[in-house]
């Protein structure tokens, strides 16, 4: 059982309040990580201590903001990929429209249309588990003069590494630490010389434990 720990006396108006909740307890209570007995002790203290209540409500509000931001960041790659795809489709449609024949059928091979929207991510494959050492990413070449924006994020969507290259393979520098057993995402956005864009889409991989 945990106890409510004494801290250095804190000023509370004119009086001194010798005991407040230990910071570990505040955090653990908010994350519902305390056992029933400790939870009751924390709630008893909170019921009588306006200062600790004020703190815990403020911490909860701060955490809410942080978690909201984290969720947004996690969703950012997906949203960005979707935006790129929509943009690519829009550009492609706009480009083709003037040459559209009277019967409404579009010209050009379907492979080209598919290529505009998406390039193949070759390695690591989606959901693959790979060793960190010697890890090299590879994707399909789109066209001469294309630039590739390469991104790796951790599982929460925070970028771990970004680079722009004209090559279609890339080895992560040794300084980029990928944690064994953790999962990551990678993708490549392609900028073509004529202004078109395409993407590999999001690929998840895991580092061998």
């Amino acid at each position: 059982m945990l106890v409510i720990q004494s801290t250095a006396p804190r000023r509370h108006g004119d009086s001194m309040t010798p005991e407040h909740l230990d910071g570990n307890l505040v955090a653990a209570y908010l994350e519902r990580r305390l056992g029933p007995e400790d939870r009751v002790r924390v709630e008893m203290h909170l019921g009588d201590c306006p200062e600790c209540r004020e703190e815990i409500a403020a911490v909860a509000a701060t955490l809410r903001g942080i978690l909201r931001r984290r969720r947004l960041l996690a969703a950012a790659p997906v949203v960005a990929t979707a935006a790129v795809v929509i943009l690519a489709v829009g550009i492609w449609t706009g480009r083709d429209r003037p040459t559209m024949p009277a019967d409404g059928l579009r010209n050009g091979p379907s492979a080209e249309r598919e290529g505009v929207e998406r390039v193949q991510a070759w390695y690591p494959a989606a959901e693959a588990t790979v060793p960190r050492s010697g890890l090299r990413f590879a994707w399909q070449s789109d066209s001469t003069g294309a630039l590739y924006n390469f991104t790796v994020t951790d599982s929460s969507g925070l970028p771990v590494f970004r680079a722009r290259t004209s090559d279609t393979t890339l080895a992560l520098p040794d300084s980029v630490r990928l944690v064994p057993g953790s999962s990551y995402h990678w993708w490549v956005d392609v900028l073509l010389p004529d202004g078109r864009v395409s993407t590999t889409g999001l690929r998840r991989f895991e580092i061998l434990p």
Binding site: E43, A58, A60
Partner: protein, 221 residues
């Protein structure tokens, strides 16, 4: 923010290569910069005040060979993010207290204004949900109003003391601290706001029954 605790922590605390440790510290700060700045901002002031607080938090975390971070790793009960949020806020309070002599752990009012606010809220919000205010005599009409109010507060306090700690906390947060239910569920372990509403209603009914059992006139049925 990825792994929790962050992988930099073990490099920082266990590593022997000073360069690697420096890098880990920089990386850790970069990863949690948003959290630390948010904590520093939450206490108000201008840009310089916030950055001074941020600087104080960073220096304090690094002090004594990262004593606080070591303590977290040794006996941390929560995620690193939650722990760091609490610690950062407390360091901001310490900083403001040293600098401005403020009391409390947040951007608080004076004790006097807080007490006035608390009393007003209790009377207006909490007791109005229990009492028919028309039956509460005014100070001018009843010479013993003060006595009756004292007696009423005493009974109410004793009833509150009988409640389960979680129910008492719920009432405190709602009526003393004036937190809306949606914020209470961030603090207390209610699955949804509806559970919190239902519990609050049940607790208020319970308080009414207890007050009536003590012959407290004016409580609503």
């Amino acid at each position: 923010m990825g792994q929790d605790p962050p992988h930099e922590l073990s490099i920082l605390l266990d590593g022997s290569d000073p360069l690697a440790r420096d890098r880990a510290w920089s990386s850790l700060l970069s990863r949690y910069q948003h959290l630390l700045l948010r904590a520093a901002r939450s206490f108000g002031g201008d840009h310089d005040d916030r950055m001074d607080r941020y600087q104080h938090v960073v220096e304090s975390l690094a002090a004594d060979e990262f004593r606080r971070l070591r303590a977290y790793r040794q006996k941390g009960l929560s995620s690193f993010t939650a722990w760091l949020t609490v610690v950062a806020r407390r360091l901001c309070v310490d900083f403001d207290r040293t600098r401005f002599g403020r009391a409390g752990r947040g951007p608080v009012e004076t004790e006097e204004t807080r007490e006035v606010r608390r009393i007003r809220r209790r009377l207006v919000t909490f007791q109005s949900s229990l009492l028919d205010l028309d039956q509460v005599p005014s100070d001018q009409m009843e010479p013993d109003a003060e006595l009756r109010r004292t007696e009423r507060d005493r009974i109410l306090s004793s009833v509150l003391a009988e409640l389960e700690p979680s129910d008492r906390l719920l009432l405190r947060l709602r009526f003393d601290d004036d937190l809306p239910i949606r914020r209470i569920v961030e603090v207390m372990p209610f699955p949804t706001v509806f559970h919190a509403y239902r519990r609050l209603r049940a607790v208020l009914q319970d308080v009414r029954r207890r007050l009536e059992a003590r012959g407290f006139e004016g409580s609503q049925g």
